[in-house]
């Protein structure tokens, strides 16, 4: 294992880790609010390492959703990682065998993908391991801190922190919406459908997990139909994160 590459990966992971620390703190608070204890919140973060999927997951737990709904929701919300993994799979060097790929895949988050994709050379396993370590630790630590200390925080802070994770989502979807009309249409359509599912009588009886699936699949299909992406997709279609 090349020490220099490992350290470089570790360094590149620091800003991600710091960002995760604060967002995971908010997730920890949300998780306890949904009825989970700090250890349960921590285990979710240690094994899932994904903000949107975990947030939807604890909401479904709190609502007593079925396991099928949970599975389909996770599949849809995390489908973007399949795209990122396909893209990354083209950019690994010879040191990344099947086992190494299986390990790195565990931490293929939006931000790690963005940093890894931005590297000019092919990715070595030492760099990948270094890169995933800090964000994973930050995500886990932030969660347990938020879950444990969240209940000690005055209501003022708890109310204010709940929006953090949505701020992060906005920071991911709005810049590409500004640049691309296609993304803008998809984002607005999906939001409009989600609003309809929330407020239109009848539609608002549909379970939360299925709502996200319906909105996302419908909006993404319209996007793919009306605005097919150009032939040269590799690396360029990552969300800006």
């Amino acid at each position: 294992m090349q020490r220099g590459l490992f350290l470089r990966g570790l360094r590149h992971g620091v800003p991600i880790a710091l960002g995760y620390l604060s967002v995971a703190f908010a997730f920890g608070i949300t998780a306890t609010r949904a009825g989970l204890n700090p250890l349960q919140a921590l285990l979710i973060s240690m094994t899932n390492v994904t903000s949107a999927g975990q947030l939807a997951g604890v909401e479904l737990m709190a609502a007593g959703a079925g396991l099928t709904e949970m599975a389909l929701t996770q599949l849809t919300i995390n489908l973007r990682y399949a795209l990122m993994s396909i893209s990354l799979s083209q950019r690994l060097d010879g040191s990344m065998g099947t086992l190494q790929r299986m390990i790195f895949a565990f931490c293929n988050t939006d931000e790690i993908f963005a940093v890894a994709s931005a590297q000019p050379e092919r990715l070595n396993k030492a760099y990948c391991y270094g890169l995933m370590l800090g964000p994973w630790a930050g995500w886990s630590l932030g969660t347990v801190l938020g879950a444990a200390a969240g209940s000690l925080l005055p209501a003022f802070f708890r109310i204010s922190l709940g929006i953090a994770i949505y701020g992060m989502f906005l920071a991911i979807i709005l810049p590409p919406s500004r640049k691309s009309r296609a993304v803008r249409v998809v984002v607005l359509l999906s939001a409009a459908l989600a609003v309809a599912f929330r407020y239109v009588p009848g539609l608002n009886q549909v379970p939360a997990g299925y709502v996200i699936i319906c909105c996302a699949v419908a909006a993404a299909c319209v996007g793919a139909w009306r605005f097919p992406v150009a032939e040269e997709p590799e690396g360029e279609e990552a969300p800006q994160a």
Partner: protein, 118 residues
């Protein structure tokens, strides 16, 4: 939450999330051919995050339909701060912190003017 309820949820979440990441990275070693499917995958993240944010963000302060409307106002204040910053491409951390500050400012105003008690 009782562990007997929690553990099956945890296993399903972790397993699905991992497989979605792991299978393409280990199995797919060639680019996808179908232009429609590639395009679909391209738009999925934006569609998912959009549906999760709108209208969920309005309830992020603990507001519930029929509940304290001032909590809704606080969430809208946070949103009003976050959207222009995100639009201009500020970092995830900046936008997240600014959104919290927007909520805190509105909440503080309600508390200081005595219109609200926590």
């Amino acid at each position: 939450m009782s562990w007997s309820v929690y553990v099956p949820y945890l296993l399903v979440m972790a397993l699905i999330t991992y497989l979605v990441r792991m299978l393409p990275l280990t199995i797919f070693r060639k680019p996808i051919r179908s232009r429609f499917f590639r395009s679909f995958l391209h738009y999925v993240p934006y569609a998912v995050l959009s549906a999760m944010t709108i209208p969920g963000v309005l309830y992020s302060t603990g507001y519930e339909p029929g509940g304290d409307v001032r909590l809704l106002v606080c969430a809208v204040a946070g949103l009003a701060v976050a959207v222009p910053l995100a639009w201009r491409g500020k970092s995830l951390l900046t936008v997240a912190v600014a959104a919290c500050l927007g909520v805190a400012a509105a909440l503080g105003l309600f508390l200081l003017t005595g219109q609200m008690n926590l």
